[in-house]
């Protein structure tokens, strides 16, 4: 589904990604771990098409076609979803109206008419329950005044509503209490399917106990320097990153 080859990207002329390779197949869950500042969020931003992030080399294919050629909105419409590490507040714009707009735009891109208001509201209710997202929050302004954890849950609620092909979750687990973590994990597990894929960016092995990844990668200094299965996460938890850094820097 997603094929990243030799990806180089920079921000403000500073090289951050330095030859990253990653293959993600439909139905898979990949976890990406790595020290602070190694480029994990940058990868998410590059895939989502954020303006400040300039791709200087390499290619990214989504289902065989050039993802990098698309605008951010078209990437989203093609099914790329980024759950933000720091979700943005938009005062006065109701969560529901925002979702309705997003969904209609995605559907229009696929040549589908907007959902009937009734079907839409039904879907909202269903997904709200799935991720146990408070109905009151759904009606409030988008993330405005939400607690850190509520914002993260809202990202998962949006994910559930938009049903993307490729979801990148950037540290969605940080800031969640234990119960919320379980709920979010359960939501993601229920959304997992043969025709979608997840990239989980996380610092904590704990998340991976709930959402069991097919692969775990370590991103360091702009490159994936080690890949393995969920055991790798356990090893990292135990030993930290130094041993990997040493082998890479050596």
């Amino acid at each position: 589904m997603l094929s990243i080859k030799n990806l180089h990207a920079s921000v403000e002329d500073k090289a951050i990604l330095k030859g990253l390779d990653l293959e993600v197949k439909a139905g898979e869950v990949h976890a990406i771990m790595g020290p602070n500042g190694s480029g994990k969020s940058t990868l998410g931003n590059v895939l989502a098409g954020r303006e400040a992030y300039e791709v200087t080399e390499g290619e990214v294919l989504l289902d065989g076609s050039d993802l990098l050629a698309l605008s951010p909105e078209d990437r989203a419409r093609e099914g790329v979803f980024l759950a933000f590490q720091y979700p943005i507040e938009i005062p006065g714009v109701s969560n529901i109206n925002f979702l309705k707009t997003a969904l209609s735009e995605i559907r229009a891109y696929k040549g589908l008419p907007p959902m009937e208001a009734r079907d839409f509201l039904k879907k909202v209710k269903e997904k709200q329950q799935l991720v146990e997202f408070d109905a009151k929050l759904a009606n409030r302004s988008l993330n405005e005044g939400f607690s850190g954890g509520e914002k993260k849950r809202n990202e998962i609620f949006q994910l559930a509503m938009l049903e993307p092909k490729l979801a990148i979750l950037d540290e969605t687990d940080s800031g969640l209490d234990i119960d919320a973590l379980r709920i979010v994990a359960r939501g993601v597990n229920q959304l997992r399917a043969d025709n979608n894929a997840f990239i989980l960016i996380t610092h904590y092995q704990r998340l991976l106990e709930y959402i069991v990844p097919d692969f775990v990668h370590v991103l360091y200094n702009g490159r994936i320097v080690r890949s393995g299965t969920k055991e790798l996460a356990l090893e990292l938890e135990e030993k930290g990153y130094d041993w990997i850094k040493e082998t890479v820097d050596a």
Partner: protein, 500 residues
């Protein structure tokens, strides 16, 4: 003198507004496009260009006015001729050639209409283009609640009957002059004196028509009253006059919408609106102004110089102004409230959006005279392109206004970095017990906000529309449902092409 070219007219109609809880949701879920740039060919009766005593006499005679009103107009003309153009505004005063404007235009046809079939199809298609629902078109046309347009035509309507039952008077200004001259004579010019400013003087001399509303004692007007203004002709000015009186304990919500076709030359709109709220009365006045703003190079567009003022004459009365201003090349208006009665309340909610080369200099005047009077000002400016958007507000506390309070919040939102936002809050307090609060913010649409929305599949222009509507929400919420939907669309559409 009579020539057949299309011209200015105004349309008055009633809406029955049903308000349910679903409205809020519907309001949220509706976002469509519309455009207003078209002209209508309706045969008009147009006065020759120019402004002299004869022009004023002609208008007055055309309208079959009593002698006292003619005298009143002539006095205003004398004032106008003596007054200088103001110089304090934050923009360059356009050169208006007052002799190059025609001061009177009315549709020529004045048929008695019995059904929709008999209505001028041009007029019907105008309504359709304005997005007025068919039912309303019928009311409008069949009925010609358009009496302001065809002011001799008067066909009974159920709405009108309903209003009449309660003693509510809602008619064109001209009609009111004929039928209720005592009310007009008692109140005309009492809130906005002829000498108030040069455009008020001009309007007083040459006003063509407008609306008149009287709500009797203790009556809560059972429906929203609304007027649609549209400038259609070339080289005509629009000078309408609105007078609304809410007698003791009465309530009325009044809506005013404006559109104009695209034209290369500038047209002038210099209206006067006077509101009078007696003891315990409340008047809510909402405007969605979408006069043609001119093209992106600043060519054409309406000069909107309007004087709007209300007086809370009696104790415990309330007047609130809500305006959404997206149109006009230059908007220059300060709807104000004179808080004369004790415990009276004045409110001003405004969204002014400017783009391209538009200029808006708008705000309010709250004049506190009575004790325990309160005023609230919420102003939201949005500037894009190379436009300039100024808030100018005056809060004046008189010596007798013990314990009066004002809260002012002025926010500015900038889109791009070539536009300007300015705030000019003036405060004059002559009473130490008064409490005044002022808050102001300036913000830009953040790249992170835009990215967040586009990452969810939303088109960047729509994203800006959403953000702007969110920003303006506090004001939009003040509007009745239908206007709120229209206003949201307007804000979104007005920003098309402003991103990037």
């Amino acid at each position: 003198m009579l020539d057949g070219c299309p011209s200015t007219y105004l349309i008055t109609f009633w809406r029955c507004v049903m308000s349910t809880k679903d409205d809020a949701l519907l309001k949220e879920l509706t976002l469509e496009e519309y455009k207003y740039g078209f002209t209508t060919d309706i045969e008009m009766d147009i006065a020759p260009k120019g402004l002299t005593e004869d022009t004023v006499r002609l208008i007055s005679a055309k309208k079959n006015e009593p002698e006292w009103l003619l005298e009143w107009r002539l006095k205003a003309l004398q004032h106008f001729l003596k007054m200088d153009m103001p110089t304090w505004q934050n923009f360059e005063n356009p050169d208006v050639d007052f002799q190059d404007i025609s001061y009177y235009a009315a549709p020529k046809a004045k048929p008695k209409l019995n059904s929709l079939d008999e209505v001028d199809p041009e007029l019907l298609s105008t309504f359709a283009k304005l997005g007025i629902p068919l039912d309303e078109q019928k009311v409008l046309a069949g009925v010609v609640a358009v009496d302001a347009v065809f002011d001799s035509v008067s066909v009974k309507t159920t709405f009108r009957e309903k209003l009449k039952e309660q003693g509510v008077i809602f008619s064109s200004f001209g009609e009111a002059v004929q039928e209720h001259p005592e009310l007009i004579r008692q109140y005309l010019g009492t809130v906005v004196p002829q000498t108030d400013n040069v455009y008020a003087a001009l309007n007083s001399a040459v006003f063509s028509d407008g609306s008149f509303v009287y709500i009797p004692k203790g009556v809560r007007c059972p429906m929203e009253l609304s007027t649609y203004f549209r400038i259609n002709a070339e080289n005509t000015g629009q000078f309408e006059r609105t007078l609304i009186i809410a007698d003791e304990g009465a309530y009325v919500s009044y809506l005013e919408g404006c559109t104009a076709p695209m034209r290369d030359e500038n047209q002038m709109h210099a209206a006067v609106v006077e509101l009078i709220a007696l003891k315990d009365a409340e008047i809510k006045y909402s405007t969605v102004q979408n006069w043609y703003p001119g093209d992106k190079d600043g060519k054409g567009g309406i000069y909107n110089f309007v004087t709007k003022r209300g007086i809370c004459k009696g104790d415990h009365s309330k007047i609130s102004w809500t305006q959404v201003e997206t149109g006009s090349a230059i908007t220059w208006k300060y709807p104000g409230v004179i808080l004369k009665g004790d415990h009276s309340v004045g409110e001003f909610y405004s969204v002014a959006l400017t783009r391209n080369k538009q200029v808006a200099d708008t705000g309010t005047k709250m004049i506190h005279l009575g004790k325990n009077t309160r005023s609230k000002i919420i102003s939201k400016g949005i500037s894009a392109g190379v436009s300039h958007n100024s808030y100018r507000g005056l809060v004046k506390i008189g010596p007798g206004a013990d314990n009066s309070r004002n809260f002012t919040q002025c926010d500015s939102l900038l889109i791009g970095d070539r536009c300007g936002a300015h705030t000019f809050p003036y405060i004059e307090s002559r009473n130490k017990t008064a409490k005044l609060e002022h808050e102001a913010t300036t913000s830009k649409i953040g790249e992170d906000q835009l990215f967040y929305l586009t990452q969810r599949g939303i088109d960047p222009e729509k994203a800006v529309g959403l953000i702007v509507n969110g920003y303006a929400k506090e004001v939009l919420n003040q509007l009745p449902m239908e206007f709120a939907v229209e206003a949201q669309k307007l804000l979104a559409i007005s920003l098309e092409g402003s991103v990037g």
